[in-house]
């Protein structure tokens, strides 16, 4: 029986394998055929992991042949953003400086997916070191939006969003530091989840900004998102920032009615600059939630406009420190044309890093340098406290907050690449959750007249992904009912 790869979900893939409609091996092979045929124009994959995928698929098929119970993600083809290290499989972070880097160990999130039966099929394209909002900063060429090839897929996890939208993977992992999962999910019309800071181990995630980096899934449905989070969440002794907080049964809780939940609608997220079609689509979804018995509460998050400038101080400061390790000594590119150690450091970095990465290293070094530390870095950390207090106050009145994910739908390639500040504003609605450490999810809530996807964002309290999933599921359900 022929399965339609475009509509397979995490749950339905496992069922199809369990019921012997397809083997994990033939399914993986079908995905590779589809990738060969369709990914050239999208450019979402940087490396394919056929040997590793087929070995895992063979293990799943052997279990199925023996009639044994299959693991929860058995045979599900999952793609990994190329900022998560994979043992023996090239990992570039979208950078020339890591063009030949073969990691000697696995990222915890990847190892956990595989332990749950998933088939890792390849590594996805992204902005260099996850720095960007359009995927145009990759050293390996931009990714194109599968919904409209003239437009960007968003960034920085553009490849991971695109493979799910294009049906060249059933699910994927991305990373979110300022919106890099939720913004591309909105642009590509898929579900993108950033869990609470500390919910998912970052061991093996190539560091960009350590107080802001998160790993999370892209999926076609909210219940798939819950299912993938279930298997990557939880304390990891290899990451001291991973939280020792119990992981609930997300999938079991997802169908709990949303009646009685209080949802906050912050006026600052519906102000000037928001595309009118996005506003109507989000408003319509809020009306549907009200009809389902949610109490809609107008709220204010007064420091919202300071989030992007705060982010660009803290994220670049941390990045300038994290990226100091690329010096041409232990791994990564080394310039050939050097006489001294100092020349080797500088030329290796000059040749290996792209322009946005250099810009952020320079900005981060500047704000941390003598004489500027208090004025910029410490100031930003104080404003970060104010942003956190905004949310603490809001969550005394409401259970979750609903906003648009992005101010506009996917923009054209090249449209913003000359103006860094204009590009940074693409993350205006997503960046605050990273600074505060709360979870956020983007779920499709309609299309523009041009047929471009629109994303709705739900934010919840620390470690309360369950409430977020319930609401996201209700949004998804009301949209399906309308269609």
């Amino acid at each position: 029986m022929e399965l339609d790869l475009n509509v397979l979900t995490v749950a339905s893939t496992r069922t199809a394998i369990e019921q012997r409609q397809v083997t994990a091996t033939s399914l993986a092979e079908s995905f590779y055929k589809k990738i060969d045929a369709e990914d050239k124009q999208v450019n979402a994959y940087l490396s394919l992991s056929k040997d590793r995928a087929l070995a895992q698929a063979a293990r799943i098929d052997a279990l199925a042949d023996k009639g044994e119970a299959l693991p929860p993600l058995a045979g599900v083809p999952i793609a990994i953003k190329d900022v998560m290290v994979t043992q023996g499989l090239r990992t570039t972070a979208g950078s020339k400086i890591l063009e030949k880097f073969i990691p000697p160990y696995d990222c915890t999130a990847v190892a956990r997916l595989e332990a749950a039966g998933a088939v890792i099929i390849g590594k996805t394209n992204c902005d260099e070191f996850a720095m960007g909002s359009s995927n145009e900063n990759s050293a390996y060429g931009p990714v194109r939006n599968p919904r409209d090839l003239t437009r960007v897929p968003g960034g920085s996890s553009g490849g991971s969003a695109a493979v799910v939208a294009a049906g060249t993977a059933v699910a994927s992992l991305g990373s979110d530091t300022g919106g890099s999962i939720r913004q591309p999910a909105a642009f590509c019309g898929v579900v993108g989840l950033m869990p609470t800071y500390g919910r998912v181990s970052r061991y093996g995630l190539i560091a960009f900004a350590s107080s802001l980096d998160h790993i999370g899934p892209f999926t076609k449905s909210v219940s798939d998102s819950a299912l993938v989070l279930q298997h990557i969440a939880g304390r990891d002794p290899l990451d001291s920032t991973s939280a020792d907080v119990p992981v609930p049964d997300y999938v079991a809780e997802i169908g709990t009615p949303v009646k009685g939940l209080r949802i906050g609608v912050p006026k600052e997220y519906f102000a000037e600059g928001l595309d009118s079609e996005i506003r109507s689509a989000v408003d319509a979804s809020i009306q549907n939630l009200a009809a389902a018995g949610c109490e809609v509460v107008p709220i204010s998050l007064p420091h919202t406009k300071y989030a992007i400038p705060t982010y660009y101080v803290i994220a670049t400061a941390e990045a300038s420190s994290n990226l100091a390790r690329y010096d041409g000594v232990r791994y990564g590119h080394r310039s050939n044309n050097v006489r001294t150690l100092s020349e080797m450091y500088r030329r290796s970095r000059d040749e290996g890093f792209g322009s946005e990465v250099k810009r952020r290293i320079m900005l981060g070094t500047y704000v941390l340098s003598a004489g500027y530390y208090d004025a910029y870095y410490l100031k930003a950390q104080r404003v970060r406290t104010l942003l956190t207090q905004d949310f603490e106050n809001a969550f005394q009145q409401v259970d979750a907050i609903i906003t648009p994910t992005t101010p506009t739908p996917a923009f054209k390639l090249g449209e913003k690449s000359d103006d860094p500040v204009a590009m940074y504003l693409a993350d205006i609605y997503t960046v605050t959750a990273d600074l505060v450490g709360i979870p956020g999810i983007s779920v499709p809530c309609g299309n523009s007249k041009e047929g471009l996807p629109i994303g709705l964002q739900i934010l919840a309290k620390h470690f309360d992904e369950s409430t977020m999933f319930r609401l996201a599921h209700a949004v998804e359900h009301s949209l399906a009912a309308k269609a």
Binding site: S211, V245, Y331, R346, L386
Partner: protein, 105 residues
């Protein structure tokens, strides 16, 4: 707009960051850094005199901060083999990473 960052300052910061940057890159960097720093200056609209800087993301998540700062036992445990640790090195002699001579005689 006041130029906060001059070409000279870009050179100084590039040194700190172990970057060289071409002449073109330096010119563009002066422009971009001034534009971004101008945007960052909006933070000065806020009086933060009595606001503590936020230094810890997880600590605010839980009343049990001890749980999050728990240290592992100080015991030796397996790590990467020598070969694995050297496999990505641009230059090595099977024992050490090799770099250009640091001390001139």
């Amino acid at each position: 707009m006041n130029e906060k960052v001059t070409e000279k300052e870009v050179g100084y910061v590039a040194d700190l960051a172990n970057l060289e940057l071409t002449a073109d890159e330096r010119t563009r960097m002066v422009r971009d850094l001034n534009s971004i720093l101008g945007f960052i200056d909006t933070l000065n609209e806020l009086d933060t005199t009595n606001v503590p800087p936020m230094a810890q993301v997880t600590a605010v998540n839980s009343s049990d901060t001890a749980k999050h700062s728990e240290l592992r036992e100080d015991a030796s445990r397996p790590s990467l083999s020598h070969d694995a640790a050297l496999q990505n090195a641009p230059e090595h002699d099977h024992n050490f990473f090799k770099v250009p001579k640091v001390i001139e005689r």
